[in-house]
């Protein structure tokens, strides 16, 4: 291990080190902590200019209630769920299929197809913006949730294919030969061998794709317009324009937007980190 581990028995040193790192974390997260603090401050205090002092009154409930009642955030939040969940499911299904084929059925051109999935995944969003927007307009899907779901499934399939292909390729090859020798058809192999074995990869992929899609802003503003379909990211930015001086409300809404991915992250942290590093490191 590097750096050299602080010895188990050096209790004082270990405590001091931990304290030091805690200090660094606090500095690191200071901007976020400031927003959290503001989100529980009352209007009156902000008016009075008490931005950084200890709040005399905690307005946690009032502020978040205001977000739910006086803004459309709840609607945006629901939209985000309606966009994100089907996208994640779609990506998992498609990438299990493509990853399985690209790792286990080599054919002429399979490497080229794989390279296209990988390469396409690095393209800047702007390069496909105009045609995708045009396509959705022509399909009558512009400003609907479907436009975002379709786009996100398509785009994330690139990364997810890379991810699943590498995971399935790392499984022992003899498992697949055995299935074939036992007379399992490709579909049976998928159902009885691949799907049970890739569960951990699917969990990691699900949380990653959830975070990517939930956090998307660009496509939200390119493909939607109305409040009825807008996800939270676009909604939050609008809100900030409308509630310019009410930093406490904006802060509460910000925390509200950040909550699902952060909670997901802490719940499935191992999968998230494993997924991110595997996707990148094995890429």
């Amino acid at each position: 291990m590097y750096p050299r581990p602080i010895p188990e028995n050096a209790k004082v040193q270990r405590a001091l080190y931990l304290g030091g790192v805690t200090l660094v974390v606090i500095l690191w997260l200071l901007p976020l902590l400031a927003v959290m603090l503001t989100s529980i401050r009352s209007n009156e205090e902000l008016m009075a200019g008490n931005y950084w002092g200890w709040p005399q009154k905690f307005s946690l409930i009032e502020n978040y209630k205001a977000v739910f009642e006086q803004t459309a955030m709840l609607r945006f939040f629901l939209n985000s769920l309606l966009i994100t969940i089907p996208s994640v499911i779609g990506v998992l299904i498609l990438s299990t299929l493509t990853g399985f084929v690209l790792s286990r059925y080599p054919f002429r051109g399979s490497n080229l197809i794989f390279a296209l999935f990988v390469g396409g995944n690095f393209l800047p969003a702007q390069i496909m913006m105009i045609p995708v927007r045009d396509l959705m307009v022509r399909l009558g899907l512009y400003d609907t949730i479907y436009a975002l779901v379709i786009f996100h499934i398509a785009f994330q399939t690139g990364f997810a294919t890379l991810f699943m292909r590498n995971f399935i390729a790392a499984l022992p090859g003899e498992l697949f030969q055995a299935a074939r020798a036992e007379g399992a058809s490709p579909f049976q192999t998928l159902r009885h061998v691949v799907v049970p074995l890739v569960r951990p990869a699917l969990a990691a992929l699900a949380i990653l794709v959830f975070t990517f899609v939930w956090n998307d802003y660009f496509w939200a503003i390119v493909l939607t317009q109305s409040d009825a379909v807008k996800p939270v990211t676009a909604g939050l930015n609008n809100l900030r324009g409308e509630w310019t001086s009410a930093w406490n409300i904006v802060s509460a809404a910000t925390i509200f937007v950040a909550l699902p991915p952060v909670v997901m992250f802490f719940m499935m942290q191992k999968h998230f980190v494993a997924g991110l590093t595997m996707g990148a490191v094995k890429g």
């Binding site: 291990m1 590097y2 581990p5 602080i6 080190y17 931990l18 790192v21 660094v24 974390v25 690191w28 997260l29 200071l30 901007p31 976020l32 400031a34 498609l94 299929l97 493509t98 399985f100 084929v101 286990r104 054919f107 296209l116 999935f117 390469g119 396409g120 690095f122 393209l123 800047p124 969003a125 702007q126 390069i127 496909m128 913006m129 105009i130 045609p131 995708v132 045009d134 379709i150 398509a154 399939t157 690139g158 058809s185 490709p186 956090n215 802003y217 660009f218 503003i221 990211t233 930015n237 900030r240 937007v257 991915p261 992250f265 942290q269 980190v273 590093t277 990148a280 490191v281 890429g283």
Partner: protein, 294 residues
Amino acid sequence: MSRLWRRNRHWLTPALFLLPGLVLFGTVILAASIETVWISLHDWDGIGAKTWVGLANYIELADDPQFYVSLKNNVIWLLIFMLAPPIGLALALIVNQQIRGMRILKSLFFVPLVLATVTVGVVFGWVYDPNFGLLQLFFSSFGGTAPALLSDENFVTFAVAAAGLWPQIAFCMILFLAGLNGLNDDLIAAGRVDGARGWRMLRHVVLPQLSQVGFIAIAVTVIGALRSFDMIAVMTSGGPYGSSTVLAYQMYQESIFSYRFGYGAAIATVLFVIMIAFIAWYLNGLIKAERSNA
């Protein structure tokens, strides 16, 4: 039919499995990207008919001062983002200790990465607020006044890019932690036996083993820098006076706000070419690394 299916299912089924993902990705992502190049050779308002103009959009672009502002800002983003790998490595080294409670601290370091860029934008908009923000608090505690970073043409891009650096550092940190986990303990032990320690150990024993992870960290950072859009849209909308645009944002503005889709497509194409050159370099490096591992 069933005989035909049975004889051919071993290749027909895989083909059917591959089809949905391939068709969707091929049309929505790949074909669309190529179509943009085609559109860039036209004059188009996004609704009516396209008029062929050849390279006119590119010629106009070459004379557009805004284009050079964007290009320069892209370079600034790139340079500032290059701080992410070393800072990420430093943080990874700091938290790579097995002490009770270190795990939760590690996770807290990762939080900025999970936040939406919009959230990061709003958070830093608040930090930079010249009247009430954190920065103002910092400056006033020394008796000074905070500069209005986001409305100053000279500072705005640096300020926005610095905000973008926050999650990027967390990303690099995760990568380097994975790299540190994968270090060969025997080599470290051998280095200790040979008397290497501290900086020399890092330089001669640890860093060479992290070269692949380091390469990936630099690559994702470059891509992240070139992709920057959300932060600019949220924090400045390209302002003041277009001084904080990058190619991605300028392209969006020209298309969506000015209905100049052909011109926007030309800007996107330039970004595309820069990106392609970079992706080729990246994939080439990966293939080389894979070969030397094999």
